[in-house]
């Protein structure tokens, strides 16, 4: 199937006066209609910058796209006009943010804000837009939607606000939704509900979802494909099941080891594995593999040469000594 959104060799640099600092380098991924791709990584790995660049809302001119393509259907969004982007944003490509309460205007009722989105892209009357807004709020299972549509955001809980945000994102029947850590600011119980809601919306409308998260468990549940990012590059990508059952990159393996999942049946819990050290700051990357200083399998070659993303069966891994290969040997 032809992907609806395809990113090819996307690079994003930050320039604050002097030397440009690479934030994202040569990242490629694609997502098909009705499918979900998870972009996973620690804070500062460039996943949010990638998300912002898809909407072309990077904090320009300090941070900007310096190379690559973002193919949406037959258009390249990197070179699209600002006018065209305004048409696409919120309508064809929409976004859900991390902090739902802060993402709503505090002095407008949620209903007015949804009506605003609908009327930005459709020439319909205020009354019709309002009816549509109530319908959208019902579809995201906001209890008592007719009454709550007149509420200001501060009267709604975080989970309810995220429902409103999802309703806003769905207003234009978008083809792609970018969800940037949609559940991070919410309670654990609400997180599951919000993810279920996104999936429901996806099956009903066939939108593609790009899920940006640092939560591997969420990625495993929601996505078919996953791309793991480290220091501005994708280091492993492929079908979610394969990667989670047998990670090939030591970093992915480290991330998986840091999930507390052994707490079943009262068995004594082994201490969580952690990855020593921190993500290198952008602009201070080592010359070899960016993960080399923290990798437990590091070899001399890793310190000198940078591994490229190479195909290993169904997936692509950027490591000279991936696990599957070692198992095969």
């Amino acid at each position: 199937m032809r992907p609806i959104l395809e990113v090819r060799e996307l690079s994003i640099h930050a320039s604050s006066g002097g030397q440009p600092i690479p934030l994202v380098e040569k990242v490629s991924f694609s997502v098909e209609k009705g499918a979900t791709l998870a972009l996973v990584g620690e804070s500062g790995c460039g996943k949010s910058m990638t998300a912002l660049s898809l909407m072309r809302i990077l904090p320009e001119p300090a941070v900007r796209i310096v190379g690559g393509e973002i193919r949406f259907e037959d258009e390249d969004l990197v070179s699209a006009s600002e006018r065209r982007m305004e048409q696409l944003r919120g309508n064809i490509i929409s976004m859900i943010f991390q902090d739902p309460i802060a993402s709503l205007n505090p002095i407008q009722t949620v209903g007015d804000q949804i009506v605003e989105v609908i009327r930005t892209h459709n020439p319909i009357s205020r009354k019709e837009a309002r009816a549509r807004a109530i319908e959208l709020l019902r579809s995201v299972r906001l209890p008592d939607a007719e009454r709550r549509i007149n509420y200001y955001p501060h009267r709604l809980s975080g989970g309810m606000c995220q429902r409103v945000m999802i309703a806003m994102a769905m207003a234009g029947a978008p083809k792609v939704i970018i969800a940037d850590e949609p559940t991070t600011a919410l309670d654990t119980t609400v997180q599951a509900q919000v993810m279920a809601l996104l999936r429901k919306a996806q099956t009903e409308t066939g939108t593609a979802i790009i899920l940006i998260t640092h939560n591997l468990a969420a990625a495993a549940e929601a996505a078919e494909n996953v791309a793991v990012m480290y220091a501005g590059r994708i280091i492993e990508q492929g079908p979610v099941r394969e990667i989670f059952l047998s990670p090939a990159h030591p970093y992915t393996e480290g991330l998986l080891g840091a999930i507390p999942d052994n707490a079943e049946g009262g068995v004594e819990i082994a201490p969580l594995a952690e990855i020593p050290g921190n993500v290198p700051r952008p602009g201070t990357l080592p010359s070899g593999c960016a993960f080399a200083p923290r990798c437990k399998n590091v070899q001399q070659r890793c310190r000198n040469e940078r591994p490229d993303l190479t195909a290993h069966g169904n997936r692509r891994v950027a490591c000279f000594f991936p696990y599957s290969q070692m198992i095969a040997q």
Partner: protein, 277 residues
């Protein structure tokens, strides 16, 4: 946003706010209906000169050096003061909000350029600048309002810029961009309503300042020569200050009360619009 009813409740909790509002309402009523109810021309000679306030039928608040009715001057002066105060403030707020919003939203070079211009205006002493402007253009209610607006907008611009710089960073602005809103719409329908409270408070104080500046100009004889204003009345009464001090006192008290009541209202608005203080 705070619900409307609780805002009104909080306003009426302030005693000075209520007093200010009552005095201000009386002055506004006097300015609007006074000339109809008391149809005496403030320039006409109605009685013998320098007649002391008698509270009778003829010149109840006395007459000045030329026999003009002080009460009539007071009533007509209220009109001039309020018109100049409000129109100068409206113009200053319009300029200041636009400059501040553009500077705060776009930041960078736009911000630098606009703020340097603002600083140029701020470095010139306000009153002197107004005098120069009024002296260059012929003094009239319009030119005086314009001159006061020209010197007062920088304060609003700086205030609005500050609010925009902080609101601009908020997630809801970014989400407005992601839903495809155009920049002018984000500025005027999304961010501006969020910083309207401090602007209202500042503009109430600005009305008071504008009235004082106009009074100062008229006192110096630089006011509109075709209208009777409080400042001009004080100016006329100046020569006979030792014998007929009421000529200075009455319009002086009128200015005092107006400015004080507006300040009270402004302060009460500030407390009720920013309840966290």
């Amino acid at each position: 946003m705070i619900a409307r009813s609780s805002f009104i409740q909080r306003y009426f909790q302030s005693r000075t706010g209520v007093i200010g509002l009552i005095i201000l309402t009386l002055i506004i009523v006097m300015a609007i209906f006074g000339p109809t109810l008391y149809p005496v021309d403030p320039w006409d000679m109605v009685s013998r000169p320098l007649q002391w306030p008698s509270f009778g039928a003829e010149a109840p608040l006395g007459s000045d050096v030329l026999g003009r009715d002080v009460l009539s001057g007071l009533i007509n002066g209220a009109r001039v003061s309020l018109i100049i105060g409000i129109s100068a403030t409206a113009a200053a707020v319009a300029i200041g909000v636009t400059v501040g919003a553009v500077a705060g939203y776009f930041r960078g070079l736009t911000d630098d350029a606009l703020m340097r211009i603002t600083e140029v205006f701020q470095t010139i002493p306000n009153f002197l600048f107004v005098i120069v402007l009024v002296a260059v253009f012929r003094p009239s209610v319009f030119t005086i309002s314009a001159a006061i607006a020209v010197v007062s907008w920088p304060a609003v611009a700086r205030l609005v810029r500050g609010e925009f710089l902080s609101l601009r960073q908020r997630a809801f602005v970014e989400s407005c961009v992601t839903i495809g809103m155009s920049t002018p719409r984000i500025i005027f329908t999304q961010i501006l309503p969020n910083c309207i409270a401090p602007v209202i408070v500042t503009s109430s104080i600005m009305i008071a300042t504008a009235i004082l500046v106009e009074a100062g100009l008229s006192f110096l004889g630089l006011g509109d020569p075709n209208v009777m204003s409080w400042g001009a009345m004080i100016g006329f009464g100046r020569q006979s200050l030792r014998t007929s001090w009421y000529l200075t006192l009455i319009p002086g008290v009128a200015i005092q009360l107006t400015v004080l009541s507006i300040s009270f209202v402004g302060e009460a608005l500030n407390d009720s619009l920013n309840p966290r203080l």
